[in-house]
């Protein structure tokens, strides 16, 4: 199995968001960057599939700054064979530009599977995977939480509102991975050592500007001051009325 995994370097989920002086971006002082958690499922799936097949390759691709080499090393420490950094100082806000840069790199690679996390936890775009599939004209299933592969085809399950969609697709394909697909492994000491010696190719790229421009980044609105409806059980009917009429949640 020849598998490509596209990964992203993102701020840790516990990051305290502070807005930079430009008013449009994250102040990165003291921010810890990690491998996007949804991409961990993709890396793990690639490793398991390759191990099961007994042969092949799991290669990781990342569009990002020079520091994203560290992110690629994390995937290599987990067990991926090689990495490619498409190095740029600026990741476009427009997902299609990221998709174009990755598609250009993946084109003609002879991949059986191209895996992505279902979304990045920084921009919540959840779009680059299916866009790459369109650009490469490959079948695609998104947010895969369960996967069975047979020669030439696969069956995936994805969670939808109130149910699970069972989806059939031919290979090669692009899949984006969701929580539940697998339990990503921690890099072992030996893996960390080995990762240092694995090939990591750096290619300078200049993704297009795209047609989405960030005008401002702002903190979310403060929750409006709540009210004490009353004291004791006698306040309950009023609470229920407010939940129905004002909050409209009942």
């Amino acid at each position: 199995m020849k598998i490509a995994v596209c990964i992203k370097r993102v701020p840790d989920s516990e990051t305290r968001v502070k807005i930079a002086p430009d008013g449009k971006s994250l102040d990165e002082a003291g921010v810890k960057f990690v491998l996007n958690p949804y991409d961990e499922f993709a890396v793990e799936e690639a490793l398991q599939r390759k191990e099961k097949a007994g042969a092949g390759e799991a290669a990781v691709f990342c569009l990002g700054p020079a520091a994203a080499q560290e992110t690629i090393r994390t995937a290599l420490a987990m067990g991926a064979d090689r990495g490619v950094l498409l190095q740029t100082d600026r990741i476009p806000a427009d997902g299609i530009e990221t998709a174009k840069a990755l598609a250009a790199e993946l084109q003609g690679g002879g991949w059986d599977l191209i895996l992505f996390g279902k979304m990045a936890i920084d921009d919540y775009n959840h779009q680059v995977g299916p866009m790459v599939a369109e650009l490469l004209d490959l079948p695609c299933v998104t947010a895969v939480a369960h996967l069975d592969l047979e020669p030439g085809k696969g069956v995936a399950e994805r969670e939808i509102e109130g149910g699970i969609e069972v989806v059939e697709f031919p290979l090669p394909a692009v899949l984006t991975t969701d929580k539940g697909l697998n339990e990503p492994r921690y890099p072992a000491l030996k893996g960390i050592m080995a990762a240092k010696k694995k090939p990591l190719e750096v290619k300078l790229v200049k993704p297009g500007q795209g047609a989405i421009e960030i005008l401002a980044m702002t903190p979310p609105p403060e929750r409006k001051e709540g009210k004490i409806v009353g004291e004791g059980p006698d306040a309950v009917p009023e609470l229920v009325r407010l939940l129905q009429v004002e909050a409209k949640v009942l």
């Binding site: 921009d123 409006k224 709540g226």
Partner: protein, 324 residues
Amino acid sequence: MSVVLAVCEQRNDTLRKTSHEVVTGARRLADALGGPVEAVICGAGAVQGSDQLARFGADKIVTLTSAGFAKYAPEGYARAIADRARAGGYGAVVFAASATGKDLAPRVAAKLGVPLAADVTDVTVEGGAIVATRPAYAGKALLKVRIAAKPAIVSLRPNVFTPVERPKAGTVETAVTAVTAGRVVVREIKAAEAGALDVAEAQIVISGGRGLKEPANFKVIEELARAFGGRAAVGASRAVVDAGWRAHADQVGQTGKTVSPTLYIAVGISGAIQHLAGMRTSKVIVAINKDKDAPIFKVADYGIVGDLFEIVPRLTVEITKLHG
């Protein structure tokens, strides 16, 4: 004049409610642009409830039918919508950021070679350009973005665009398309696994804390949850999970699960930051606590001060009445 295309969804030939939100959002955008709203649904035949979309502001309702469109067909739907969008010269295409919309919108955007602003919570027109607001960093920041493309494609975060009635003519038509389902085929839709609702997924979460005094008293919370008729899950604070009163899977908080239900009811929970971190994105928060200074009241939308053992059973009665 710019037409706004509202991409609606059906399941089992019936319109999905989220479509009302999509048309509401599209109507808002169309008004700002000064154009009509065209709602489009992919299906195998007539879609029940599609005519309702007129109530929410659709000037025209089109069902694109194909034999392969009974269930969601990612490639077929994307081809059909993209073809229509390309032909119609639309100013904007609006999707729901539902499971289907999240899958479909990027495909359509890529086919048209235009950007997608996903999961938006607001969309307006400023100086002729479409401007969307969307959450980033797990909702810890909002991004305001300008979309300089035609059509501008957005997907709307569910439960944000509350449907507003704006009756329009709503002419209904059916257009048969030659587009087939494509290579990716939805074989079936399985029901979600039965059993207790997970706190991370429930629409309503009722959590208990140390104020319950002992594990057996969680029954008052469970009874309240039952009154909501299977839509509510029972959560717990870290303190009571550590004390072994509840399973770790029920724990809401930084080290437990992060939840954002429509309604969160905190019972006998003081509201340590680590708990708040796990539930503060809930749409509506209700707190019941005997200590009026408890920090939970600072994040709650509604609070009742007093003895939870009197208040919760009364609430159970009232909710049962409502659903009874």
